[in-house]
């Protein structure tokens, strides 16, 4: 996408009937959303006891992510601000209950009723001031406070989102922390610009055993998680260190042809990006006959 949708229009106007239909019928988007939902559910770390839970899908849209939840056997309640997207969800006959509401106005749910929450590609919309009466900070505050209230003890919330820049990520993290959440950001495939995905994993209440922020995915399982510990009193939070993951400018290679070292280095880079690369053998970059 040339520009971010958040900068074009507020979500209930951007996702009108035409866009909603386009979004839901694009196979690429369906695939990506399914993958993101599966990963979010994985990060949610619900106990694997076969008991269906009640989850919240914030910014459920046309129910693409909700379907993944149903596939795992859980009940869910979906919220979205766009009426058109919800209509498409109705057409697709999703199993969850849908609510037409604005997450920035606070979630209208009673305390402690939800076992977990996911949100795929939605939270960044909160940072925009669409109406003159909106103030993104108030909206973020209302959202996180009401979320904290309606989640049960030990429940988690996992948000996959697209922060525009470092400042936006800090803003969102800051408000989550102030509402009482603990947790951090998990980054999958941080080295690849295309595949890089960020997940905000928040836990409610005192973390139980094994509630450490999980490691992000990368080739060779590098530990790619930015572990900002959001404990209550720490107002001077650690700076998000994701800039570290931006690929450094490659050093100038030897101009005299592309030797074995160069080829090996390139293959390693490709592997880190997550591409399938043939293994390095004694034949790699072997000198071939001139007339190959």
């Amino acid at each position: 996408m040339a520009s971010r949708p958040e900068l074009q229009a507020p979500p209930d106007i951007f996702y009108d009937d035409a866009e909603a239909r386009k979004y839901t019928s694009s196979s690429r988007i369906i695939e990506i959303q399914a993958e993101l939902s599966e990963r979010a559910l994985e990060l949610l770390a619900l106990p694997d006891d076969g008991v269906p839970r009640l989850l919240l899908d914030i910014g459920c849209g046309s129910g693409l992510s909700g379907e993944s939840i149903s596939d795992h056997g859980h009940q869910w309640i979906g919220l979205d601000i766009s009426h058109s997207m919800l209509s498409v969800a109705l057409e697709r006959d999703v199993e969850g209950d849908l609510i037409h509401s604005d997450m920035g106005q606070g979630l209208a749910l009673r305390s402690g009723v939800i076992d977990g929450a996911i949100s795929i590609s939605a939270v960044q919309w909160l940072c925009n001031a669409d109406k003159s009466s909106d103030e993104p900070r108030l909206r973020l505050k209302a959202f996180f406070e009401s979320l904290y209230r309606c989640l049960g003890r030990g429940a988690r919330a996992v948000f996959q989102f697209y922060p525009e820049n470092l400042a936006q990520r800090e803003l969102i993290l800051g408000f989550a922390m102030r509402a009482g959440f603990a947790g951090g950001v998990v980054v999958d495939y941080p080295h690849s610009t295309k595949r890089r995905k960020e997940f905000l994993v928040l836990t409610c209440g005192p973390p139980s055993l094994g509630a450490a922020v999980p490691n992000g995915k990368g080739e060779n399982a590098d530990s790619c998680s930015d572990n900002d510990e959001l404990s209550g009193d720490d107002e001077n939070q650690t700076v998000c260190i994701s800039d570290r993951h931006r690929p450094r400018k490659r050093q100038k290679t030897n101009k005299k042809g592309k030797g074995r070292q160069w080829v090996l280095k390139k293959k390693e880079q490709m592997r880190r990006k997550g591409n399938a690369v043939p293994p390095d053998t004694k034949y790699t970059a072997r000198k071939r006959k001139a007339r190959f």
């Binding site: 269906p52 009640l54 109705l90 037409h100 509401s101 604005d102 209208a108 749910l109 402690g112």
Partner: protein, 115 residues
């Protein structure tokens, strides 16, 4: 489980239901889920809600010992998961604000002065 979110409302739960059209969905019965949900539900509110949708079979009082009875679970399952408000409204008990329900989706959007 929805409660009224308008600023200043202290007792925004439970929302009264004004049912115009009620539909019964078919949902798979899962005893574990129901047992998990039971402590979170405010029973009186559920009974009142079910009554306003035309389902009066729920017992007025419910103790945790009752969740072992299959019959009770079936009624609970019916009221909680299968009764579906298709058209109607939810009304805040304190301010009287109506949240319309269309095609099963309640519209909880607040006006600017209510946030």
């Amino acid at each position: 489980m929805l409660s009224c979110n308008i600023k200043g409302v202290t007792n925004g739960f439970p929302l009264r239901i004004e049912a115009e059209k009620v539909v019964e969905k078919q949902v798979d019965f899962n005893a574990d889920f129901l047992k998990n949900m039971f402590p979170k539900i405010e029973w009186k509110a559920l009974v009142a809600a079910a009554k306003s949708m035309g389902y009066t079979d729920l017992p007025d009082q419910a103790e945790s010992s009752m969740i072992d009875s299959e019959e009770f679970l079936k009624k609970f399952h019916h009221a909680l998961l299968q009764l579906h408000l298709e058209e109607g409204a939810l009304i805040c008990p304190e301010t009287g604000r109506r949240f319309p329900v269309n095609k099963g989706i309640p519209n909880m959007l607040l006006h600017e002065d209510e946030v």
